[in-house]
Symmetry: C2
Subunit: 191 residues, 2 copies
């Protein structure tokens, strides 16, 4: 029965090849350049092969996004030292978040801007999403005071996301991001 195993392994490899190629193409030329034709050509298979792995182009975006959530979680955890979740921890967290978005434009878009079909805040939410959320929550919940920690995280996260997207889209000057982050933390986290 090892033939089946080999086939399954090859399928899994090709699956990952599709996701990696889509991600690379998106990161270098934007998601608009990730067409099924171009993607198929890059992996050296025909278009219909893509549809034997994913139901739609959106589902490929979702697969890339999933990688993103795992990496975001890692980046946030790495930036925040163990120990007390003080103001500095929150500062590190915020910078890690915006740095991640800046380093991975296409990945960030797949996670938060494009339609990726992933369920959020739902019983079916995949583990990487929950874990990234948790990595955001942990350093913040000690600063919730009388507010619900969930509300604080979501609002703080929304502010970060707003800064990231509006800056990236040219809606606000890009040269003062650190100052805006400092202001955000200053107001959000009482001394």
């Amino acid at each position: 029965m090892s033939v089946h195993e080999r086939k399954a392994r090859e399928r899994a490899n090709r699956h990952q090849l599709i996701v990696s190629t889509a991600r690379e193409l998106a990161e270098t030329h934007g998601w608009d350049a990730v067409t099924t034709r171009r993607l198929a050509e890059r992996i050296e298979y025909s278009q219909p092969v893509l549809y034997s792995h994913f139901r739609s182009r959106n589902e490929i975006v979702g697969a890339v996004a999933l990688e993103g959530f795992a990496e975001l979680k890692t980046a946030l955890r790495a930036a925040v030292p163990d120990g007390p979740a003080d103001r500095e921890a929150v500062t590190a967290l915020a910078h890690a978040y915006t740095d991640f978005a800046e380093r991975n434009h296409a990945l960030y878009d797949a996670m938060f801007s494009l339609d990726n079909g992933l369920p959020f805040a739902d019983e079916a939410t995949p583990a990487p999403l929950r874990e990234a959320y948790q990595a955001l929550l942990d350093p913040l919940q000690d600063h919730a005071g009388s507010d619900a920690p969930g509300l604080l995280v979501e609002t703080f996260w929304a502010a970060l996301h707003g800064l990231v997207t509006l800056t990236r889209a040219g809606r606000m000057p890009a040269d003062q991001v650190p100052q805006r982050l400092a202001l955000l933390i200053d107001r959000f986290i009482p001394r």
Copy 2:
């Protein structure tokens, strides 16, 4: 020379018809449904006519967005009473902003999410954009304290924008928007 005037008037009317039709189509069926073919059919002209008014589909989005900025400014001004720009004024401002986004999905997308070709924070920024920004700034600048008012406005705006987009995209539960707004104001505007 009245013939030229009539023609110019007719052209202007048709220009507005295109913008209004695009907006209506976007608001009822989403921007994806605003194709040049469908739009042309609705205004009862052929596709190339659109391109005698706008250089591209994006430019039509931009024209709709411009209407949006004028209306946003009006909505914000109407919500904030004259007089001292206290906490309540900021609360009214924030609610007016999120209400506007909620009432005009497609319009909001045209203004802040889609590529509309409009220059932001630039010497060529159109008046409606500046005025909407100013309507956001006025009630906030008294609460800047030692921070630059511009930074405060941009950061506060980013938070509002993040809440609006992440909620609309299903990235966070929609049933606690008022609580998040309250938290935002509570932390941003010192008592």
